[in-house]
Amino acid sequence: MIVFDRVAKRYPNGREALAGVTLRVNPGEMVFLTGKSGAGKSTVLKLIALLERPTRGTVLINGKNTSTLKARHIPAFRRHIGVVFQDHKLLADRPVYDNVALPLVVADTPLREIDKRVRAALDQVGLLGKERMSPLELSVGEQQRVGIARAVVSKPPLLIADEPTGNLDPDLALEVMRLFKRFQEVGVTVVVATHDVHLVREFGQREIVIENGHVRGSGADDLPSVVARR
């Protein structure tokens, strides 16, 4: 599902965030990206969601090379990836319903279908009945769950989350992680970047540690075949 082959990323300000990362995430897998803040976790996620393109190396998402994807195909590409942010990036001036419906609206989904799916997504995160509320009226944990509902409402095969529990107390964090696990159980590939090592241990999923722009341990061991051919 995700293949990074010796990926380096240098930002315009000269900072080298990644210096040759090779990793692979299989379809249906749930993987934790860990490492100190500033190690490059967020950059990996940005490269997956095509918010950035690699400076060197190759990023393949679902077989598509993000370096060669044309700008006009990026929107369609992004619709196949659900993204959850630490600051959840909800629109404060729109009700919960509109926030969750946005990925469907941009994909020109029929109205009746939107209604069905938004309710289903809100039900999955336990927020059914709060459609009309403003995100500002919700607790931080609830806001994060609205963000998750928005990420999964279009049933993307890939779900990525950047520090989704960063602002939550341990109980809420655990609850959110269980939510991600449930999506993985129904076949969604899940990548969660977090610095919460205890939470990662508790779930026992594969862990990719990013350190100074490199992968430490497990990630480097399973070089994908695509890489070998290059």
């Binding site: 993204v83 946005l102 029929p110 109205l111 279009s154």
Partner: protein, 307 residues
């Protein structure tokens, strides 16, 4: 994507744009007002020129020949002359203005009514107003008519009333060029005003645009509401311009009618006809939409989501 959901999106984008304009009524109104003035100016000038054309329309072919008979010619003789003049193929129509009628009009409109009472007899001659036949309006044809009438023994003077009409038409032609130039410049003004307003709105809604692009909204999807906003600015501006011009015409109609009456004309000031109204609304809509399109295409590309 079904056609139904596609058009539903457009209705939604349109209503959304309408709602945003209504939420900031003063700012929206000021933009609409500027657009309206920029549209009303050239269109108002066009109405002025059209009216001037209609006002001089009585002089079709730009010529009219006044044949002044000698004062001693009797009315019956004048009528015979008018009849024989009508028989010429290059004469379209002949109107006989009897001396009595001319005097009456002079008494009514000139303000010398009292002075005329002093006169024993009517000093005015009968006049034949000769309109050349269609196709006989050229300078050469008119000149041959002038010579023909001058040769009549009963005729005192033949006058061609064409020169001032020709000058006036030349002035109207200049005005029409000015009008085109003004329309082009003010059209650019509308583009700039709408474009700048849209630019500010895009900056205000940056967060929303970023999130929309993040979840896979295409540039076209993000641009759509702004295009409708531009379209609404243009249309509302055109409607207001229509109102401004129509109100101006209504205010001027009375005085102009009085003025026209003084010149013995039934002329009435005309406002915007259906065609002009269509041009006004159409150009307003197109300019608003285009201004928004240029601005949105430029500025939306710069906004890319940052995680």
């Amino acid at each position: 994507m079904s056609l139904g959901s596609y058009s539903a999106r457009h209705v939604q984008a349109f209503l959304g744009a309408l709602g945003r304009l209504a939420r900031a009524p003063l700012a929206s109104f000021l933009t609409v007002l500027v657009v309206a003035l920029a549209l009303a100016l050239p269109m108002g000038l066009k109405v002025l020129v059209s009216n001037a054309r209609v006002a001089t329309g009585d002089f079709k072919g730009a010529v009219d020949i006044s044949v002044y008979l000698k004062t001693d010619v009797a009315l019956t003789k004048a009528q015979q002359l008018a009849a024989s003049a009508r028989e010429r193929p290059d004469v379209g129509d002949v109107t006989l203005i009897p001396a009595e009628q001319a005097l009456e009009e002079f008494r009514t409109y000139s303000g010398f009514g009292a002075a005329l009472e002093v006169l024993r007899e009517n000093p005015l001659p009968h006049v034949l107003q000769v309109h050349p036949a269609p196709g006989a309006g050229s300078a050469a044809a008119v000149e041959s008519l002038r010579r023909y009438f001058s040769a009549w023994p009963e005729v005192d003077l033949v006058q061609i009333d064409s020169e001032w009409v020709m000058r006036f038409n030349a002035i109207l032609d200049v005005l029409r060029k000015v009008l085109l130039l003004a329309a082009a410049l003010l059209g650019l003004g509308v583009l700039a005003v709408v474009g700048n307003t849209i630019r500010l709105e895009i900056l205000n809604r940056r967060a929303e645009i970023e999130v929309t692009k993040l979840v896979g909204g295409s540039n076209g999807f993000v641009r759509r509401p702004f295009l409708y906003t531009g379209l609404l600015y243009g249309l509302a501006g055109a409607v207001l311009a229509w109102g401004i011009i129509t109100a101006t015409v209504l205010v001027l109609a009375g005085p102009v009618a009085t003025l026209a009456q003084l010149y013995g004309s039934q002329y009435a000031l005309a406002g915007l006809d259906a065609r002009d109204s269509g041009i006004l609304l159409g150009s307003g809509a197109v300019l608003g939409w285009l201004g928004a399109w240029i601005s949105a295409s430029r500025h939306l590309r710069e906004i890319e989501p940052r995680a």
